[in-house]
Symmetry: C2
């Protein structure tokens, strides 16, 4: 069974734990050799629009969430980053008044970014780097960045500096004051409001982490996506799959960005394998994150049905969508023309529970 999954970060990684478990693998370890011989394989096509260059380091939050989670190295209590992490470098960087103090980087994590940045600077592709990092960690799943090209999701918002005083930014997120100021200009600087544009485009991470998605988005744009090409292996993983799953990741800023890379959505539409998405909403709310706010930004109702219709049917009326099946939470309802809708408990509380979701997806399309 070859399963290919479109995934974001934390939610995508949790879902992949369940995919591994459903195949009978250790969710937190490498794929068993015997299973590989039996041609079981899981490939994840991972969002890289969240990637950000900080302190000269190329940070890939979604790829790393998958890498750490699937190899048992993630901090499951905190919900992101490495377990047994330390924070010395970050504390020092803040002492220097370095850029983006609102973005947390652990020391173990920084080592990953140092290795990645070094390899990228040496000319390796992000997919090469991801394979090399996977060699160490053994996530079991073949992790593919959606593209090796630079794509960065930006969010257009009313300029927070034009409408509020700097004191209105979340507490504890401002650079430490100091004699030396190494920080880059940010949108919410100290320039008088009169000199500020009405709207600004923030890097996704600034909008998400610094402003906690509290600034209503006018547009969410994956800059660079129109010129990007799928990373090596992405289209093959879609074409060769026995089952294609869309993880319950954010449909706009995770799955939506993967689908914005030209060629990926088209490949899914013509794939031989059935395609099943899992709803990211339970009772109209995301379990984690701000999917509801992102859906509002693109005019999609923040309901299971809204997301299902947004993905659409690839075989039913219209035929321009992606799905054959759609799994929603027990208690929710969704009418998505041309798509078989199933229900199951959707809380990914542990790999066993998530494996049941994967089993329900398989049952829904009979593979």
């Amino acid at each position: 069974m070859k399963i290919t999954v479109l995934a974001g970060g934390v939610g995508g990684a949790k879902f992949l734990l369940g995919v591994k478990r459903q195949l009978g693998w250790d969710p937190f370890g490498p794929a068993p050799a015997a299973r590989q011989a039996a041609a079981d394989a899981v490939t994840a096509i991972v969002n890289t629009g969240d990637d950000i260059r900080l302190h000269g380091l190329q940070v890939c939050p979604d790829l790393d969430s998958c890498l750490y989670t699937l190899s048992g190295e993630a901090d499951t209590e905190r919900g992101w980053g490495r377990r047994d992490e330390t924070w010395t470098v970050q504390s020092e960087l803040r002492g220097y008044g370095a850029e983006a103090p609102w973005f947390s980087l652990g020391d173990k994590d920084i080592a990953t970014h140092l290795m990645r940045t070094r390899m990228l600077d040496a000319g390796y592709r992000l997919s090469d780097v991801t394979a090399a990092l996977s060699d160490r960690w053994g996530p079991g799943v073949k992790l593919l960045p959606m593209t090796d090209d630079r794509v960065e999701t930006h969010v257009v918002v009313d300029n927070p500096a034009a409408n509020t005083s700097a004191d209105d930014t979340p507490a504890g997120t401002e650079p430490t004051a100091g004699e030396a100021d190494f920080s880059e200009p940010v949108a919410a600087g100290s320039t008088p409001a009169a000199a500020q544009p009405e709207q600004v485009a923030l890097h996704f991470q600034e909008w998400w982490v610094r402003y906690r998605a509290e600034l209503p988005p006018h547009a969410i744009t994956p800059i660079g996506a129109d010129a990007a090409t799928p990373a090596p292996g992405v289209l093959e993983a879609i074409a060769d799959a026995d089952l294609i799953l869309i993880a319950p990741s954010n449909p706009v800023v995770s799955v939506g960005i993967v689908l914005a890379v030209p060629g990926i959505a088209d490949a899914i539409r013509v794939a031989a394998a059935p395609v099943v998405a899992v709803s990211p909403l339970i009772g109209g709310a995301p379990v984690r994150g701000y999917a509801d706010k992102c859906l509002q930004a693109i005019g999609v109702p923040a309901t299971a049905e809204g997301v299902g219709r947004h993905y659409g049917s690839r075989s039913g009326a219209g035929g321009t969508g992606l799905l054959d099946g759609y799994l929603i939470a027990e208690g929710d309802s969704a009418d998505v023309p041309g798509v078989r809708v199933g229900t199951a408990p959707l809380l990914m509380s542990d790999p066993d529970a998530t494996a049941e979701m994967v089993a329900a997806c398989r049952k829904l399309v009979g593979v």
Copy 2:
């Protein structure tokens, strides 16, 4: 009193503590404002030939030793690096099989290198970066890199891979074995001896730290020095000084590299201020480091007299040297034609003891 000091790393930093103390300053803090008003100033011209790019980070060991020591942030027991340091990033990098596992980088230290590398990549000069880092730490001494140009000291040795098995390299310095190998080729690789050149040029740090200077050097060469120019402020600090001191740093790989930058030695020869060097040898041996081995490499006797004659007199017979005065350890003797030689206890056991050395230097030349 304006004092300009030629300095290397740890020894140079310790000497500068004594210079500050001798002026009545807090050795571990910034210069007092009142003293600055009185035109007391200390400038250090620091060796950058030890600098090395590791993991994509520009590491400046001598500048950082001065920065950390003079601002009270150094680990005085270990003798280098930051106090209360942690080592998470390094442990992770070794887990990846990253390059140069023999070179220790603490987490706090890495933050410094991240800030520096970011600024250099943005186009700032090393002297700008050093000033910015000093703004945070307040070393009291104006720290100037000898040059903003890239100079890297290399040491020509018999190829260790051609003459010994890999097992002869010092214990604990080999890369951690792992599936992923990110390490760069190094001289002492696993290539068969027959394919290896007879001699190789190692970066100074590899020779010093990895091989502990145990490979006899055929030549010690500051690559890039012939095309380098003194950093902004260096020649002015020499011309405007009331006293020029050469710290008891390594005469070959620290002071010798500073003097290899065209223009610096000439400026010292014509400076208005008297020039006094402090012997780095006590009883023919360095207190710390491998000055004796370095001196042998350039054919200079590893004695106080040998070093004194190597620096030479700028006013006496010949007149091609640098010194007016030379301070050697009690119990040593040195006949250096044209140079006033004084004796004093030379163990820099604390800033008070070192201040006595500085006082002896001043007395020797009457400033």
